[in-house]
Symmetry: C2
Subunit: 191 residues, 2 copies
DNA sequence: TCCTTTATATAACACTTGTTATATTATAGA
DNA sequence: TCTATAATATAACAAGTGTTATATAAAGGA
């Protein structure tokens, strides 16, 4: 019989997540991981074929975490559902900046573009109906808000701006209502 | 007398810029640089004390390039000056994605935050006067537009969205006019 | 008690990085 | 023509990476 297991697969994944949180993807190395686990590098390679596969798992775990947060935010009732999803994105960037970078600031040239067109179409449809907008107007509204959310999230994740809970919310509201007004009342402001 | 100089300081800087453009900051290594210059790694170290100092110069050069583009864009008259600066930022992200990442997607936690508060105040003042806004309204308008510009730029630089010249311009215009309408006509759209 | 099994540790490998010590070698002045 | 100079080239170093070969050792069954 072999000695009992000291380092589990889950231990390694947990330590990897912590390491990425603390130092970013770059910090996830065999030696650093072993040090955090108080063991040699060997258990890593008996649990995973190579570092790349472990990194993929960390990536998936990060996305899972983000999805959970979004779900929780939409359930909480703190914001209306659409806004809740945007705020969850922003708060994820604030509280898990390294995981946010991993998921949403990576290079995607030549990769899949918008994976959530179906989801977008649903949102656009709801917007149209609720506010009496044309398809293009609703799509534009959705795009602007999504760009704002993404822009804010990146700013916070990189420390370019300091996060203030109300600021983000207010920006989104102002933009939403402003655009809505513009679309619903074409002759509003000409200048 | 020594042999004549084959590799100049400028050669090295130029090759470094090309390397960063092609492969990002990570790609700027001694060997890769030597290969591009068709020489050994030695000329690098007789022109620069170490790689870090060369990287600093590349960083400054990238900013210089960005500043030139902004200036040119504002001179061109293609857009009004304020919008021109935003579009220049976006176009820089599109055409020099790696340089954009170096300048504006790096980590700034614990670093200087907004270096251009003076510039911002000037813009806000002009906005107030021209559109009859309160200070807070003008600041908010400026913030929203800046976040939009940054968000779009990051999306294009990472390949998250494909750049369409009109799209960015339209988004900015809609947001600008929408917010302006909201601020100038408080009771515009309530719901 | 001993033996088989295998989780872990140790040590080494091949490779990449920045940097430096040493060797070449081209050039103009003597 | 020879020589001092310094710009390059070659080669090596130390440190860090992923990965693997070998050694150690713990734990239950024989």
């Amino acid at each position: 019989m072999p000695p009992s297991i000291k380092i589990t697969r889950e231990d390694i994944i947990t330590a990897s997540m912590d390491l990425v949180r603390e130092q970013g993807t770059e910090g996830l190395t065999t030696r650093a991981l072993a040090k955090k686990l108080n063991c040699s590098t060997q258990p890593i390679f008996s649990n995973f074929p190579n570092m790349e596969s472990l990194k993929k798992i960390v990536f998936d775990k990060a996305y899972e975490l983000y999805a959970e947060r979004t779900f929780a935010s939409m359930q909480s009732g703190k914001y209306p559902p659409y806004k809740a999803s945007g705020m969850a994105y922003i708060e994820f960037a604030v509280e898990e900046p390294q995981l946010f970078k991993l998921l949403y600031m990576r290079d995607r040239t030549g990769k899949e573009k918008n994976d959530d067109t179906a989801e977008s179409e649903k949102i656009i449809a709801v917007m149209r109906e609720r506010n009496g907008l044309s398809y293009d107007q609703a799509r534009q509204l959705h795009t602007v808000l999504w760009v704002l959310v993404h822009g804010l999230a990146v700013m916070y994740a990189t420390g370019f701006q300091e996060y203030k809970a109300d600021e983000a919310s207010e920006i989104l509201t102002d933009a939403y209502l402003g655009l809505l007004g513009r679309f619903q009342n074409k002759e509003g402001v000409v200048k």
